[in-house]
Symmetry: C2
Subunit: 118 residues, 2 copies
DNA sequence: ACCAATACCTAATTCTTTTATGTATCATTG
DNA sequence: CAATGATACATAAAAGAATTAGGTATTGGT
């Protein structure tokens, strides 16, 4: 697993893109899905995920429906139309960003000949 | 320019990788270099950059030397040996992270046929 | 009966970055 | 030659997102 700091700022993107794929998911399902798809390399914490889901809902990107499973209540999230647009934008933005970053880091080529000070 | 939030957590990586490339740079130079190399898409703010440089120095990844240019004093930063290792790790970590993220987002394929609620 | 997994949630703290300054030198130009 | 924009450093308050650390409750397996 990475030092989680790289994950910062990507949580909304992840959530939106998964919902663009799968149409309807609940919070816990999202954490498990991400964990599996990334072989445990990305692990969402619930303390970050739930507030994000609530925020996206408040902003009109997600809608919810509650489904009873026995005595438990699951809260399913789906994209609204705006949410779909937002998913597109966020995913494209991330892709452009990671390209730009990789270009920037690309010239990086460790040089063992370098002289080190103190 | 992107919503800067994606940049979060990448500032150290950028600084370290540039210094691995160029051996000796000063703060302002770093901001300009990044701006040019990314066609203005990534713009480092000084309020974020200087504290980061100080922190990396305090952690022993960077050393400084002051150079007088006329009446001005420039503060040049270079990697220490540990800084070089750190640069390697950070850059590799970012690359692995962006691969993982792109895999995760890859299945994303906007579907205009989808039904939207409310 | 107990424990791990499922499933939701929030609050305090931490940490990074933004925003907003402040100081000072240097080069250009009207 | 005064004004302005670029160069060059720096810090401090505020904002914002995530971590850490709880809390509640159901379900399935041993």
């Amino acid at each position: 697993m990475y030092s989680q700091e790289l994950l910062k700022g990507t949580l909304q993107t992840i959530v939106l893109s998964l919902l663009a794929e799968k149409e309807r998911m609940y919070g816990y399902e999202i954490t498990q899905h991400v964990k599996e798809k990334t072989a445990g390399q990305i692990q969402l914490t619930e303390g970050a995920l739930y507030p994000t889901l609530h925020k996206l809902e408040a902003e009109g990107f997600l809608t919810t429906e509650k489904v009873s499973i026995g005595k438990r209540v699951r809260k399913y999230y789906s994209l609204t139309e705006n949410g779909n647009k937002q998913a597109n934008e966020k995913v494209n933005e991330f892709r452009r960003f990671s390209e730009t970053m990789n270009d920037l880091l690309n010239s990086f080529n460790p040089n063992p000949e370098l002289q080190w000070r103190s």
